[in-house]
């Protein structure tokens, strides 16, 4: 059975293997033990922290095949994007250039550097093994986080965002970066990613254009890349758009990939989730994403089960694999 749970130190070998497999564009999963170890530690610290108002916490999850103990995916939540420094995006603004006298009405787009999404909760670090792409497992890996947010809303913002990796050329270079980033930073895409990792994001504020960029003036290749999702993010993009995330308005300042956003309460899994008691049951029934409600032992999985007024009917095998007992309360949402 596939189970999503918070990462532990003992998961490090599996985490490192998956991070190394993950594409270059997923910058929150660098192939760097130190960084990954710190992510696990930060997550453990956050789970035990007494949070009265969300802030610098972050949560890091693994997808585990319980029969083998093998890890099959990674995902994370940052409680507040840009907690220490601004979270930069381009806002794709619409400007109307109209003149009734001349009978002209044009809609022009311009990219404005903004901090609009600073402080929103960020879904990040998503990587699922290729064999599980577009499966229940890939849904669980993403949406298990949403049940976590639903259960402890005080730990998260009223809005959730997620950055999708943008499109790259065959050689790994980014057409969007070459059209804009290269001009303002004077460095290559991979160098910029590197500096972001080691120097923080101050240099972005220092070098990025202060004035909006008119989209029609960008090259065709860069315009085509705006808001496009690269192969690395097609799975989370699919999951999150089904959840009702908006794909318009914000794009990544480096590669032009879309930054999805939604009001927390309006996210489908969160809005449709509810608490039910576990009762004894048999196999089969509608599919649910189901999560425990214990912060120190959070687990989420997908089950086929009948839900009645009495509660959700689970077999002993499922209850055991999840470490749950009859009478426990779980949070469920339709798959």
């Amino acid at each position: 059975m596939l189970v999503l749970r918070p990462a532990r130190h003992s998961d490090m070998p599996g985490i490192e293997r998956l991070a190394a497999e993950s594409p270059v564009g997923v910058t929150s999963l660098p192939a760097n033990s130190d960084t990954l170890y710190k992510k696990v530690q930060a997550s453990l610290d956050s789970l035990t922290a007494d949070v009265s108002f969300y802030g610098e916490e972050s949560y890091f999850f693994v997808l585990e095949e319980t029969e083998t103990g093998e890890l099959a995916g990674l995902s994370g939540i940052v409680a507040s994007a840009g907690y220490n420094e601004p979270f930069y995006s381009y806002r794709n603004e619409t400007l109307i250039h109209a003149s009734p006298v001349l009978g002209i009405h044009s809609k022009i787009h311009a990219l404005s550097l903004c901090h609009d999404l600073t402080g929103k909760t960020l879904l990040t670090s998503y990587y699922v093994e290729p064999s599980l792409r577009f499966s229940r497992g890939s849904d669980l890996l993403s949406r298990g986080r949403l049940l976590f947010i639903a259960q402890w809303p005080e730990r998260f913002a009223d809005g959730v965002v997620s950055e999708m990796v943008g499109v790259a050329r065959d050689d790994g270079s980014s057409p969007f970066w070459d059209a804009i980033g290269q001009i303002f930073f004077g460095i290559e895409y991979h160098e910029a990613e590197y500096y972001c990792g080691v120097k923080g994001r101050k240099f972005i504020a220092e070098l990025m254009p202060q004035h909006p960029l008119y989209v029609p003036l960008l090259g065709d290749e860069a315009q085509a890349a705006m808001g496009q999702v690269g192969p690395a993010s097609t799975v989370p993009y699919d999951v999150l758009t089904r959840e009702g995330f908006e794909t318009e308005n914000y794009i990544d300042i480096f590669d032009g990939g879309p930054t999805l956003h939604a009001a927390t309460r309006g996210i489908r899994t969160i809005a449709q989730s509810r608490l039910v008691k576990i009762v004894d049951g048999t196999e089969g029934g509608p599919a649910w994403i189901m999560a425990s409600t214990e912060l120190d032992d959070y687990r989420a999985t997908v089950v086929d089960a009948e839900v009645t007024d009495r509660g959700i009917g689970l077999t002993a095998a499922v209850r055991d694999a999840m470490g749950l007992a009859i009478g426990d309360v779980v949070r469920i949402a339709p798959l």
């Binding site: 250039h97 006298v101 044009s106 001009i183 303002f184 930073f185 101050k202 240099f203 254009p209 004035h211």
Partner: protein, 342 residues
């Protein structure tokens, strides 16, 4: 040739003249209503201020060049006392934005176009057009510089900051690379159409459709960047002439074709600063360098060229010149050598 104040009955000749103007001289459109209004404004300006000096915003003068033999109109030029006081006057200021990061040791300098109204209020030399058949024998210089003598004579009617917009680069089909790379994106219209609308007084409508945010020129085509602040081939002599009079390009360009707007401080313009008042002296023949000579009339201002040299008694002028200026010997005239070299 003679340059003189415009008259009511010049309209037909001017319309004929205007139909010969290429794209880029936005102040002389082939539009009867517009031209008629400009003539009326000039006549009003000529009549204004007998008692009290009018506001510079009220000053709008047109002058015609005519063949004194036939009375045929060959060219036109004008001066506005102050631009941009009725509707906004737009330019791009070619500026620079610098961004640096000491942390990653990067210094970036970006040429940036800022939409501005900085030149609001300035006086403008405008509407210069000389029919191709008459582009010879210093006629172009006479036509253009005749205005400077008028300004020297009536300086209070003009804002001391004087500008001249020069036609930017466009090809034989009227296609402007700057327009194609910038303006075109903001509304689907040919440069020639925008140019025409500008001429009939709708420039501010178009300007409001132009990008209001600063534009980094790095996003323009190479062709477009190359013509920022550059003049049309046919306008090069005009640029050289104005620069000889002390006009300078200070980074202001036209928002449509990026042609340069040159600037000068009125009292420092050579033909104004060096001009002097002389007593006209009748002479059978005169010789010397080319001088611009004008009468001193607000309502019937006249300028022509004379080959002469001042003497302690006055400025020797032939009967023909005196007649062109419509003055008698002994009258007071204003004169300045046509060009700086002498």
């Amino acid at each position: 040739m003679l340059v003189r104040s415009i008259r009511q009955n010049d309209l037909a000749a001017l319309l004929h003249l205007a139909s010969n103007v290429g794209v880029g001289v936005t102040t002389l459109p082939v539009n009867e209503e517009r031209l008629g209004k400009r003539i009326a404004a000039s006549l009003a300006s000529q009549a204004a201020g007998a008692d009290a000096l009018p506001d510079t915003a009220e000053s709008s003068f047109l002058f015609a060049m005519e063949d004194p033999g036939t009375g045929q109109v060959a060219g036109i030029c004008g001066i506005e006392g102050s631009v941009g006081l009725g509707e906004p006057w737009y330019n791009y200021r070619v500026g620079v934005s610098v961004r640096t990061s000491t942390e990653i040791n990067v210094y970036r300098r970006h040429e940036t176009l800022f939409l501005c109204n900085d030149l609001t209020g300035a006086a403008e030399l405008c509407s210069l057009f000389l029919h191709p058949d008459w582009r010879r024998d210093n006629n172009g210089s006479l036509l253009s510089k005749s205005r400077l003598l008028f300004m020297a004579e009536f300086p209070k009617r003009f804002n001391p900051r004087v500008i001249a917009e020069l036609r930017g680069v466009s090809d034989a089909d009227g296609r402007s690379p700057f327009w194609e790379s910038l303006g075109r994106h903001f509304f689907k219209m040919d440069f020639s159409q925008a140019d025409y609308l500008t001429g009939i007084g709708q420039k501010s409508f178009i300007a409001e459709l132009m990008p209001q945010h600063p534009v980094y020129t790095t996003f323009l085509s190479e062709e477009a960047r190359a013509v920022i602040g550059e003049v049309h081939e046919g306008t090069r002599p005009a640029r050289v002439m104005l620069e000889g009079e002390g006009f300078r390009y200070n980074g202001y360009v036209d928002i449509f074709d990026a042609g340069p707007t040159l600037q000068a401080h009125l009292p420092e313009i050579r033909a104004i600063r060096k001009s002097a008042v002389f007593t006209a002296k009748s002479a059978d023949t005169t010789k010397g360098q080319s001088w611009l000579v004008s009468n001193r009339s607000l309502t019937d201002f006249r300028v022509c060229l004379a080959q002469t040299e001042p003497t302690p008694n006055g400025l020797p002028l032939t009967a023909e010149v005196l007649s062109r200026l419509d003055v008698e010997a002994g009258a007071s005239v204003r004169a300045v050598p046509l060009s700086a070299r002498s």
